[in-house]
């Protein structure tokens, strides 16, 4: 892309190589990255593996009922005798799926919004960024709650779309800043001199150069989207039965904290650990890609 040194000899360092070196030095961030990957893989393949042992998330065993963690059921069973570990892994698919999809939607909106505002500039930029400012001070999650319940939206796709539609504000600001600094660079002038259309210059030449920031912020927005999902599910307008997410599992567990604490601890730890790991990894990634933001 626009690395300062074009000569890629063994001695020169590429931007990405430099970042990778810095990231590896931050051992905690690497561990957290590993934990995130592990959680994702476990949620993807865990239920399948459990299936080979004849356990799945829906196999009810009323005879067994609720049992504390044991050798047969590592994280215990719930009131219907379902294995908690498998339920958590299956719930993780939904939680991670919501996070990934909503973040992707937020990415598309935020990147386009910020890039267009910065590139067009002037009054358009002012109005577009004022809208972002106003929405920042807004209880946007409240609007999602109202819309979800007023229109009785039970489908999970609405959940993706609505959470995505409120999570793009910071992305728009970051991308705007990046595009501002890029739009008068030589390679942009060159593209313009060659007669490229503004939309092509913006989305083929400028936006790809903002991807570093975008990737970092996407990593950091995954955990906050997971928290949104949990809040919505807790209030009963998020993920609906028969689907279960970490949010709904925690909600179930929180009502039985005294009698059956493992019903809360299992999904609670899964959620907290994943969010922590993603946050820490995202921080490390940001420090590695842009050492100046650390300011020390």
């Amino acid at each position: 892309m626009s690395a300062p040194t074009a000569t890629a000899t063994a001695a020169s360092r590429s931007l990405a190589g430099d970042a990778w070196r810095r990231l590896r030095k931050n051992r905690m961030a690497v561990i957290c990255g590993g934990v995130s990957v592990f959680v994702i893989l476990a949620c993807m393949f865990g239920p399948m593996i459990a299936g080979w042992f004849g356990v799945d998330a829906t196999s009810i065993d009323p005879e067994l009922g609720v049992t504390p963690p044991s050798a047969a059921h590592w994280l215990g069973t719930d009131t219907l005798g379902r294995d908690m570990l498998v339920r958590i892994l299956v719930g993780g698919r939904i939680a991670l799926g919501v996070a990934a999809t909503a973040t992707a939607i937020a990415l598309v909106i935020g990147v386009s919004w910020g890039a267009i505002a910065a590139y067009v500039g002037g009054r358009v930029d002012y109005v577009m960024m004022r809208i972002v400012d106003v929405l920042y001070g807004f209880p946007t999650l409240v609007f999602v709650i109202v819309v979800m319940s007023v229109f009785a939206l039970k489908s999970i796709f609405w959940l993706f779309a609505l959470i995505g539609s409120i999570s793009w504000l910071t992305m728009a600001r970051l991308v705007r800043g990046q595009v501002m600094s890029l739009r008068h660079r030589e390679f942009v002038e060159a593209a313009r001199a060659l007669g490229a259309k503004p939309s092509r210059i913006l989305f083929r030449h400028i936006v790809p150069n903002t991807l570093g920031v975008v990737v970092v912020y996407a990593t950091l927005s995954l955990p906050s989207v997971m928290l949104y999902e949990a809040v919505l599910s807790y209030l009963g307008v998020g993920v609906q039965a028969p689907l279960a997410s970490w949010g709904t599992l925690v909600t179930e567990g929180s009502s039985q904290i005294i009698a059956y604490p493992w019903l809360l601890y299992g999904p609670g730890v899964a959620m907290g650990l994943t969010i922590f790991a993603l946050n820490f990894f995202g921080d490390g990634l940001r420090d590695a890609l842009d050492p100046q933001t650390r300011k020390d």
């Binding site: 106003v134 001070g137 946007t140 709650i145 109202v146 007023v150 925690v250 005294i258 907290g272």
Partner: protein, 305 residues
């Protein structure tokens, strides 16, 4: 300064009108009405109910009535409870406000303290420990933390009541739980801005004229270092509202958030839109206050944009 306040006021009124219109239209577009019953009502009864609540007027007339009422501070009547929306707000908002203020106090007080100490002792064990705690605080959802805190402090140690508001001690757990959501973010913000401020010339001047390190950090640097935290308070209060929905449900607090959730379930339109408009008006006012405080802290902002 006055110009800044005036322009923000005008903008704020615009936002409130936009939100009122939005919520009016949204709730009218909603499928299903508050008087939908299992059994169809007799047509005459249906008409009487609709006439009672002016649901048979044209949309424009309803909108004009609604906006005119709002301008007089009249939010209309609840469809499900024998109360006006204004009464609901004045009775139940104080609970939410108390908990929210206590939560902000906890978050800002502890958060800024943690951030300043971490920046002061940067890249030491103290810094890493404080910042890991901050990140942990951001990462644990309140629906997990709340029940655990109740388990420890209410049922385990028996120090605090587990739920409901009966006396001052009842506020401690909800306020703590709500404040912890912001503590981590504020601590990280404060650390970042303090690091920047501590490298500036006026701090070097303060050190050079022989002030103690404590006076330099807590008096001179903090005044500027706290500016991003103040800026964050606007958006933080907005999320504080949705946070209060969860916390009030979790702890059985009779606050406005709980009422809002109940109104959603009941399709109680006037309560929904009234409380929504009230929340937004409250936030708009608060954001203006934040702007003013901002100007007082940082002279460069005072002259306007």
């Amino acid at each position: 300064m006055l110009r800044l306040i005036l322009s923000r006021l005008v903008g704020g009124v615009g936002v409130i009108i936009a939100v009122a219109t939005f919520s009016f239209l949204l709730l009218h577009a909603a499928p299903g009405g508050p008087f939908d019953a299992e059994r169809a009502l007799a047509p005459q009864v249906q008409r009487n109910i609709e006439a009672r609540y002016h649901l048979d007027d044209s949309l424009v007339t309803q909108y004009a009535d609604y906006m005119g009422g709002l301008a007089h501070g009249d939010f209309g009547y609840s469809l499900k409870r024998p109360m006006s929306v204004g009464e609901i707000i004045t009775t139940h908002f104080p609970y939410s406000l108390t908990i929210g203020l206590m939560a902000l106090l906890v978050a800002v007080g502890l958060g800024v303290g943690m951030g300043v100490i971490a920046a002061w002792r940067r890249n030491t064990g103290v810094d890493y420990a404080l910042m890991s705690m901050a990140l942990l605080g951001i990462s644990i959802p309140s629906i997990v933390l709340g029940p655990i805190l109740v388990g420890i402090f209410a049922f385990g140690l028996g120090w605090l009541p587990p739920a409901r508001i009966e006396g001052p001690a009842s506020y401690v757990l909800p306020a703590m739980c709500l404040g912890l959501i912001y503590l981590g973010t504020i601590a990280r913000l404060a650390r970042g801005s303090m690091l920047e401020v501590l490298g500036q010339d006026f701090v070097r001047t303060a050190r050079a004229k022989g002030l103690t390190e404590r006076a330099v950090v807590w008096k001179h640097a903090l005044r500027l270092g706290v500016v991003p935290v103040v800026t964050y308070l606007g958006p933080a209060t907005a999320t504080l509202i949705s946070g209060s929905f969860v916390i009030e449900k979790l702890f059985g607090v009779p606050g406005l958030g709980g009422f809002f959730v109940e109104a959603i379930v009941n399709r109680d339109y006037p309560v929904l839109s009234g409380v929504l408009v009230f929340y937004v008006a409250f936030l708009v006012m608060l954001n203006i206050v934040v702007d003013v405080v901002h100007g007082l802290l940082d002279p460069r902002i005072r002259s306007g944009r």
